[in-house]
């Protein structure tokens, strides 16, 4: 007797030659096998012949109407976090360089290396509060990116695996 898997392989047309030979022998010799095979074969063909269900006649129209009334999805701020992060960093970087260049070029005094520390603007940028605030902002943005790109994906995949 062949296993159910082997019989289904025959019905699906993917059985090996050996199984097909065995199947032919069993069909001619075993009435029990023949009945069992014919039962499964009948179900197989019934399933192939199962009708495709039709939705209501208004399906397409209803869907198109829903589409027309669907609110236009605005990109949430969280989807632009990466850009926000890079923009803040770029602005800060360009601003620092341009201010530094401006004050260096307008200075008539002889350039001494320690003089950099005397620039008011640089000092303002270097104040503890500003540095802390910028660090905090960047840390929050980084955490938000991590949450969106890593944690969210991880829990979504986990949820899908569980379902």
């Amino acid at each position: 007797m062949l296993t159910d898997e082997q019989i289904f392989d025959i019905l699906d047309g993917c059985a090996s030659k050996e199984i097909l030979i065995q199947h032919k022998n069993l069909l001619s010799k075993s009435a029990e096998y023949k009945t069992y095979f014919e039962d499964l074969e009948a179900i197989h063909f019934d399933l192939i012949a199962l009708p495709i269900e039709k939705p209501s006649a208004q399906f397409t129209e209803n869907l198109l109407a829903n589409l027309a009334y669907a609110p236009v999805k605005k990109k949430s701020w969280s989807s632009q976090l990466t850009w926000i992060f890079f923009t803040i960093m770029s602005v800060f970087f360009i601003g620092t360089i341009s201010l530094t260049l401006f004050y260096f070029s307008s200075s008539t005094a002889a350039i001494e290396i320690p003089r950099v520390n005397n620039l008011d603007v640089i000092n303002t940028f270097s104040t503890d509060i500003l540095v802390k605030v910028l660090l905090l902002v960047n840390l929050i943005v980084l955490l938000a990116i991590f949450d969106k790109k890593v944690l969210k994906q991880y829990f979504l995949n986990k949820k899908m695996r569980l379902s």
Binding site: D4, E53, P55, L64, N66
Partner: protein
């Protein structure tokens, strides 16, 4: 142009704002989407809602679709997940008698003996499918509905192709057992 290329072409037209492409895409896939949902849910209204939601999700997430993959695999996965979610929501399962396929088949059956016999078998198969678990029904539906490959079914249901093959075999076996049980009950009721 094969079916998938046609779908990709329609998606590109939708992306460029061609409104007629929406209608074409819906008409191409609504029957299959509805059938998959209906076989899982056994309720026409719920199935229609799920199929509509699936289309809405597709149109909302067009940007995330990878044009190199097969549209139907992606789409059926959305339908399948939406139907399963709906099934979980419907804690109390109820069969919509008026709209059930049984009623449909009876009301549409012709008088010839051959047609009656065919319809009886169809009814029996559909009733047996309803008695199977959502997992078994889905496997059988996906396998027989559109001649999807094992790899495609595996991708839709998020399992391996080997597991999909085993699950399909088991589902068919359980369906055969269910049919046998129904037949025995019918014979017993006649005696």
């Amino acid at each position: 142009m094969n079916d998938n290329q046609k779908d990709i072409n329609l998606l590109n037209r939708i992306r460029t704002g061609d409104k007629s492409a929406y209608k074409e895409l819906i008409n191409r896939h609504k029957d299959y989407a509805f059938t998959v949902a209906y076989r899982i849910l056994n309720n026409r209204e719920d199935a229609e809602e799920v199929a509509q939601d699936a289309f809405m999700q597709v149109f909302g997430a067009l940007q995330s679709f990878n044009a190199e993959s097969k549209f139907t695999t992606w789409f059926y996965r959305i339908v399948f997940n939406a139907a399963l979610m709906q099934k979980r929501k419907n804690k109390v399962e109820s069969v919509d008698i008026e709209n059930s396929s049984e009623a449909f088949l009876v009301s549409h059956s012709s008088d010839s003996t051959e047609d009656l016999r065919k319809n009886e078998r169809k009814m029996a198969i559909q009733k047996a499918l309803q008695n199977l678990s959502a997992d078994d029904t889905t496997m059988i539906t996906l396998f027989y509905l559109k001649e999807l490959s094992l790899e495609e079914i595996a991708e839709i249901t998020n399992i391996s192709a080997e597991t999909a093959k085993v699950k399909i075999h088991r589902a068919r076996k359980r369906l055969a057992e269910e049919m046998k049980k129904m037949l025995n009950e019918e014979v017993r009721s006649l005696l």
